[in-house]
């Protein structure tokens, strides 16, 4: 048996636009509010920050397994994927349109490609409002159709958008991906380097990396970092249909989980897995 000679393409090396194309069936990609619409942030330029023509969010329609879909992909390279008024409104607006379609009996499959530090600090309040709208839209939409989140790259998903990730019906991660309410640099800044050294990659990924998040049930599927594997995981998530109960609705489960943790003891990823494994059935 010889190794395949086809060069491997990493999903995380793709731009947001290329990622959206990779998740949709070939030839079906159609962008809404693309770069030439020039719906850019009005808040960045007055603060001396160069804006981007799509404000860092790609909204794309197309099909997944023959069904209409909408991909909302955040561009990690622009402002650390930070959500501002416009980029947030693009995500919330697209989800609200999908909700309208679902209520009319013609559901559209929504996929969020999350690569973001959360709020874009230059437009903090407006970004917060937009993210609240994203949360509300996900909760309304997930009654009709699974909302699928993908966290692929090492930037990860933090802040208010980590809550959006938590609200998704299914969450797909790679080993490189990270998920947390606060990013490691914020934890170090607030609680001190003894609490968490944000440059200790092994420890950071041990806590919030994709493998750990899937192992403890905070995310559903661990996938390889290549376009076909991620696209397959997305198709499988929709094929699974709506979950019996969404993760964020299992309040008692997480209260129980918090209850069994002794915060006076040092905790690492493995220990957390074993503590929580007992109540995972």
């Amino acid at each position: 048996m010889s190794a395949p000679s086809i060069p491997r393409v990493h999903f995380t090396e793709l731009s947001a636009r290329e990622r959206a194309k990779a998740l949709l069936e070939a030839g079906t990609f159609r962008e809404l509010l693309g770069p030439f619409e020039r719906i850019e942030s009005p808040h960045l330029s007055p603060q001396g920050v160069v804006p981007q023509s799509d404000d860092g969010v790609v909204v794309a329609r197309g099909t997944i397994d023959g069904s209409p879909a909408v991909i909302l992909a955040i561009e990690a390279a622009f402002q650390g994927g930070g959500i501002g008024e416009v980029s947030g409104a693009k995500i919330a607006g697209a989800l609200e349109l999908a909700l309208g379609d679902a209520e009319a009996g013609t559901p559209v499959r929504p996929v969020l490609v999350l690569e973001t530090g959360g709020i874009r600090l230059q437009e903090a309040n407006l970004g917060l409002l937009a993210i609240a709208e994203v949360h509300a839209a996900i909760i309304a939409l997930r009654r009709y159709v699974p909302v699928v989140g993908v966290i692929a790259g090492p930037l990860g998903c933090f802040g208010g958008m980590s809550i959006a990730a938590g609200l998704c019906s299914y969450l797909i991660m790679t080993r490189e991906g990270r998920l947390g309410l606060n990013g490691p640099a914020v934890i170090e800044e607030e609680a001190g380097v003894a609490e968490l050294d944000s440059r200790d990659n092994r420890r950071v990924w041990d806590i919030m990396g994709g493998e750990q998040r899937v192992a403890v049930g905070m995310a559903d599927t661990l996938t390889e970092d290549d376009p076909d594997s991620v696209a397959r995981a997305v198709r499988e998530a929709f094929a699974a249909g709506l979950p019996e109960r969404h993760r964020s609705a299992k309040v008692e489960r997480y209260e129980t989980r918090l209850g069994v943790i002794d915060s006076s003891q040092e905790l690492d990823g493995q220990k957390l897995r074993s503590i929580w494994a007992e109540e995972r059935r």
């Binding site: 770069p35 030439f36 920050v49 160069v50 804006p51 981007q52 023509s53 390279a77």
Partner: protein, 97 residues
């Protein structure tokens, strides 16, 4: 942030509009569109102030070697002259493919 405007003589039109790149560290995005006039009109918004002469030199060289009648918008996050030239070449190639 600084906004710079340039105007170069040109005669060869492009057939379609093209978007390349991203406003990420050391990179830039280019929006290139067909233009009726026989000129290359370039608007640059750059995060690095005080590099107007460098931009003029880089763009002068590019448009002296490439005849492109087009409207070109550049949003730059500190790209080097080499990256600027490559992105411009990429945009022109895609606009003519």
């Amino acid at each position: 942030m600084e906004t710079l405007n340039f105007d170069f003589p040109a005669s060869r039109p492009v057939s379609r509009r093209v978007h390349v790149g991203v406003v990420g560290s050391g990179d830039l995005e280019i929006l290139l569109e067909p233009l009726e006039d026989e000129r290359a009109l370039v608007v640059v918004r750059t995060s690095a102030d005080g590099f107007g002469e460098v931009w003029r030199n880089v763009l002068d060289r590019f448009f002296s070697r490439n005849d492109v009648a087009a409207s070109i918008e550049i949003n730059d996050q500190g790209a080097t002259p080499g990256t600027v030239s490559l992105r411009l070449a990429q945009a022109v190639e895609e606009a003519r493919s």
